[in-house]
Amino acid sequence: MTRRTPPSASPARPTTVVVLRLYIAGGAPNSMQAIANLEAICAEHLKGGHRLEVVDILDNPRRAMAEGVLVTPSLTKLSPLPAAQVVGNLSDKKRVLLALGLEPHVQ
């Protein structure tokens, strides 16, 4: 996993609560990485202005299917609209920020 250096300038602060759902597969390596990466991103960019639900598809495969999940780890932004999705271990911070609507400043 490549951790990128956070941008020096802080991106725009959210004004509304961002509702996220992360689908994982138990304690599998990418799933654990995804949780750690997402927590770091949320702590840095959302400062608590978010709600995160972690769904383990090994415990609850039917729910994941009902919600159209294809692979795990898989992050869905439910609110504010538009909804967005990122898959993988979330080590590509820029992609995650784009999905969250918190695009970092273009260098």
């Binding site: 304690g27 599998a28 090994l58 495969p61 294809l70 692979v71 898959v87």
Partner: protein, 306 residues
């Protein structure tokens, strides 16, 4: 762990590589799912055709290793736990390993009733760091403690004497951990294990002696002596000078008015023998408290000898 997880893991184990390839082909070409899989960032794929979760081999190995580590840690903890109960600790290794699968670790809270007087015994308990009071009813409202069980013993001695009903109410006084076994399994194991039989017959005699001593003490000694004696006995079994006992608990155990406990414990406290922090009693000066207690108190090692 839910049953869903078990099913998913087993089914995932049966997936052939061709099945996985078929599944991957169903993902959109150039889509983010395929890219993430190629980058090795995906743990599992959901097969909508068979309604299964297909865990990738690397992730499956990691999950299996983690599960094995957890199971091994749990086995080790259960293996070591019986050593903390004197009765189990003295059993030969083979006998104790045979009992192991039947022992379940339970956390007991103060006030939990393990056995009710006159009711069938469903489990026997081997305390590790909790203390259980055996209460004998004196009338419809009141009962008095006639026995105390800690890491030195077992709750459920009537089964040893082929009686399936408890004669006392067994109430947890100091919260903690115990190992329990279903009564039917215990009866079978007791008949098979010679060393277990010896230990428990001897322990039954210890309990009988303890009850006799308590009866003699009740009839002969001043309340201050009795209170000091009980505090020491509970302290020995709780393995800690912090008794986490309130004056109300002690009044119930000893079947006296709460004011008697307040007055007498106040006297012991004024002499620096015990402390009372936020309603919880603790032993500060063990030697001093032993001097204040009647001769009915004997440290656990000595009392353990029938």
């Amino acid at each position: 762990m839910s049953s869903d997880r078990g099913v998913a893991s087993v089914q995932a184990g049966r997936v052939t590589s061709s099945g996985l390839q078929r599944l991957l082909r169903q993902l959109p070409v150039g889509g983010m799912e395929r890219r993430a899989i190629e980058a090795g960032e995906i743990d599992a794929v959901i097969d909508y055709g068979s309604a299964n979760v297909i865990v990738f081999p690397v992730a499956r190995r990691a999950l299996r290793d983690a599960a094995n580590r957890a199971a091994s840690a749990e086995r080790k903890a259960t293996l070591e736990m019986p050593k903390l109960n004197s009765l189990l600790a003295t059993l030969p290794r083979a006998e104790y390993r045979r009992l192991l699968p039947a022992l379940e670790q339970v956390t007991l809270e103060r006030g939990d009733v393990l056995h009710e007087a006159g009711a069938p015994i469903r489990h026997v308990y081997f305390p590790v760091d909790c203390v259980i009071c055996l209460m004998t009813k004196v009338d419809d409202q009141r009962a008095v403690a006639t026995g105390l069980v800690g890491h030195d013993g077992m709750v459920g001695i009537p089964l040893v004497l082929e009686v399936g009903v408890s004669s006392v109410r067994a109430v947890v006084q100091v919260a903690g951990t115990a190992l329990r076994m279903p009564a039917t399994r215990f009866t079978n194991e007791f008949q098979r294990g010679l060393q277990l039989q010896r230990q428990l017959y001897r322990y039954a005699q210890v309990k009988l002696n303890q009850a006799r001593q308590i009866a003699a003490c009740l009839a002969s000694h001043r309340f201050e002596q009795r209170l000091a004696c009980w505090l020491l006995m509970i302290g020995d079994r709780a393995k800690s000078p912090e008794l986490l006992l309130t004056q109300k608990n002690l009044a119930t155990i000893l079947n006296v008015r709460r004011v008697s406990v307040t007055t007498t414990s106040g006297s012991l406290r004024s002499r620096g023998l015990i402390g009372n922090d936020r309603g919880s009693l603790s032993i500060l000066d063990r030697k001093g408290l032993e001097a204040a207690a009647c001769r009915c108190y004997r440290p656990l090692e000595a009392a353990d000898v029938a």
